[in-house]
């Protein structure tokens, strides 16, 4: 009996449940897209700040919301178990990108709160690759 | 009162009732009919107004709920529906006009309650907007 159980478990690991994998890919793609939206919003805000188009209060709200959204997406995505080992690799990929995004957003938010708007453009530049990678990922897995 | 025949549903029920100052009293939520013993057709004796009158007419769960709510506000289990005797009706046009003022008619339990417990306690309740 025990051997049968082990066999069943092994078999279930080998058969790649492609539908669940596909679902997970979509989830990953959607999460990447959502975080990309937050980062893009923040970058546009930074651009507005660099052009002296806006002041502290608006930027603060913008960045706080962007960060909050990205963190929410991250926690939702992390709460889903990857269904297979291939999916595991995907999870690591997305996680890395999202973490880079959320920490960048957090830094921007802190800067604006302190009124150090001058450092924003530099931060934004550093976040740009993350944004591009998120968007590429999202396009791939949609 | 001269016996003019009007379609009850069309010309009387659910009409707005206005008092002698032109203020809204309520709607004709229901009517009280008198059924003569000699078999001649029943005629309207009074207008009934208020949730206690509307509830039973709506019927069903909704109607019961309406009555329940109003009784709860009244803190009185068996409040009677507001009644306006037919003899007070002076005009039957697009609205029903009656001879007395709202205060005199006294069919307004909920309005009086709202006024007494809530509205009058807020400053400026006597000033009309414009």
């Amino acid at each position: 009996m025990k051997r049968l159980l082990v066999l069943a478990l092994l078999l279930s690991g080998c058969v790649s449940p492609s539908r669940t994998d596909r679902d997970y890919q979509l989830k990953a793609g959607n999460s990447a897209k959502a975080v990309a939206s937050s980062v893009a919003t923040a970058l546009l805000g930074a651009r507005a700040a660099a052009d002296h188009r806006t002041g502290g209060p608006y930027l603060t709200v913008l960045l706080v919301n962007a960060e909050k959204d990205a963190l929410a997406v991250q926690s939702t995505f992390d709460s889903v178990q990857p269904p297979s080992s291939t999916a595991d690799g995907l999870k690591d990929q997305v996680d890395e990108l999202i973490t880079a995004a959320t920490s960048g957003l957090s830094e921007m938010r802190t800067l604006v709160r302190r009124g150090e708007l001058a450092a924003l453009p530099g931060l934004a530049q550093r976040l740009r690759p993350t944004l591009d990678q998120l968007q590429t990922f999202a396009d791939r897995y949609q | 009162m001269a016996g003019r025949v009007r379609d009850l549903a069309l010309h009387l029920l659910d009409r707005q009732v206005l008092d002698t100052d032109g203020r809204a009293v309520g709607n004709v939520d229901d009517v009280e009919l008198h059924v003569p013993e000699d078999g001649s057709p029943p005629y309207v004796v009074a207008i009934l107004t208020g949730p206690q009158a509307l509830g039973p007419r709506l019927g069903g769960l909704l109607g019961q709920w309406l009555v329940f709510l109003s009784n709860a506000l009244a803190r009185n289990q068996d409040e009677e529906p507001g009644r306006i005797g037919w003899e007070l009706v002076t005009d039957l046009g697009s609205a029903v006009t009656v001879a007395k003022s709202r205060v005199e008619l006294g069919v307004h339990a909920n309005e009086d309650r709202a006024r007494e417990y809530l509205v009058d306690r807020i400053p400026g309740a006597r000033d009309a907007g414009s």
Partner: protein, 409 residues
């Protein structure tokens, strides 16, 4: 000359008062996602609201009675109650969304959390209803709402490819990567935003309060047929801004700050200032209208004395209902439910309530007992019936679509 000024003011009020939080959110969300591919829905919605607002205004002017009064008389208490419950629920939800909208706008200006503004806003809405002159307040908020023209100016400044935008609008097609159900779902939300029920109640009750008669009908028509379409154009400008700035960046709109982003980028601090004034005016004005509409609809159904012109103690239940509605609306927002989400839901439910709201108006507007010679003409009836069929279809598919697309995910 004086009447010309009055007409002008009326039109301005109609334009500025057309846009509320529902229009702001819907147009921005959709512009950022579909570009102008749903512009036709705005056009359709504007025609519909013009048609029915004019009808209900005419009914009010000719019969001297408000919509709900007549609904119950003409269709019976049961139908009237169904109408009332549907409309009141939706209007209440809209009221909550508008109060949230004012708070969000104030947050944008000050970075103080919107939750802290909610009680202030609620109190402000109530005090205006309690004490301030009706016509004056409508005009003030309507005209200040014109500051939202910043969207139109911003769109111009952004220098978009107009031919491309026009192409999008005239060739409505589902963009790549979007499903048809999602497209239809958003179309329904946008439609609900353009034709929200409270606009009609407020319009007709306002007409009765101001004592409109037949001779005011021409002014009323001008307000409606010039003001509302221009308001619709403003809606399209909001969508256009989102389409030009947010869509290429893959930004999906979830917050009011994103709605403002295109204006900030192109018009800077000045544009932003106008925008905030416009946001606050539009949403505050709509808060007043929805709060009053809740009171109007219940009071008219039950035959209470209602209105802003009588002293509050003479219309105690009416004012009690308005007060309670405002408090409950504020409380809903204070549960920290995202006001933007509340707005989106209010739009879907608006769409569901539409046929129940508009059907009685069509019936009453055809009733010679009330309207005499001013009953609907054949064209109006044909159009009105077409819209009613459309509204019924929309109402039936709205909720299933919402569930199927997970509210447009």
């Amino acid at each position: 000359m004086k009447s010309l000024l009055k007409i002008f003011l009326g039109i301005l009020t109609a334009i500025g008062g057309f846009v509320d939080i529902g229009d702001l959110v819907a147009n921005a969300v959709i512009g950022a996602r579909f570009g102008l591919a749903l512009a036709w829905v705005v056009v359709l919605g504007v025609i519909g609201i013009c048609l029915y607002a004019d009808m209900s205004g005419r009914v009010a002017a000719v019969s001297g009675r408000g919509t709900f009064d007549l609904v119950r008389e003409r269709l019976g208490p049961r139908m009237g109650l169904a109408n009332l419950l549907a409309s009141t629920f939706v209007t209440f939800l809209t009221l909550a969304a508008e109060i949230g909208g004012v708070a969000l706008a104030l947050e944008l200006a000050t970075s103080v959390s919107y939750l802290l503004f909610v009680p202030l806003v609620a109190f402000g809405v109530w005090i205006v209803v309690w004490r301030m002159p009706f016509e004056r307040m409508e005009q003030a908020f309507g005209i200040l709402g014109l500051c939202l023209l910043a969207f139109a100016v911003a769109l111009w400044q952004l220098g978009p490819d107009w031919s491309q935008l026009l192409h999008q609008a005239v060739h409505p097609s589902v963009p790549d990567g979007e499903g048809h159900p999602t497209y239809v779902f958003y179309a329904i939300s946008l439609f609900g935003a353009a034709m929200t029920p409270y606009e009609v109640f407020f319009f007709s009750s306002g007409a009765v309060e101001e004592g409109w008669s037949r001779k005011d009908l021409r002014t009323e028509r001008l307000n409606v047929y010039i003001g509302f379409p221009l308001g619709g154009l403003l809606s399209l400008a909001i969508a256009g801004c989102a389409a030009v700035v947010l869509l290429p960046q893959g930004i999906s709109v979830d917050h009011l700050d994103q709605v403002a982003l295109p204006v900030v980028l192109s018009l800077g601090k000045v544009g932003f200032a106008f925008l905030i004034v416009g946001f606050v005016a539009a949403t505050f004005g709509a808060s007043l209208e929805t709060a009053l509409s809740t009171g109007y609809s219940i009071a008219q159904y039950l035959g209470w004395q209602w209105g802003k012109r009588t002293a509050p103690r003479e219309a105690a239940r009416f004012h009690a209902v308005v007060l309670v509605a405002i408090i409950l609306g504020a409380m809903l927002i204070l549960t920290t439910l995202d006001p933007v989400k509340v707005t989106e839901y209010s739009l879907v439910f608006s769409a569901v309530a539409l046929p129940l709201t508009y059907f009685p108006i069509l019936v009453v507007a055809n009733d010679r007992d009330y309207m005499g010679e001013s009953v609907n003409g054949r064209v109006v009836n044909a159009l009105g019936t077409f819209y009613l069929v459309l509204l019924t279809v929309v109402a039936i598919v709205a909720v299933p679509l919402m569930i199927a697309t997970k509210a447009g995910q």
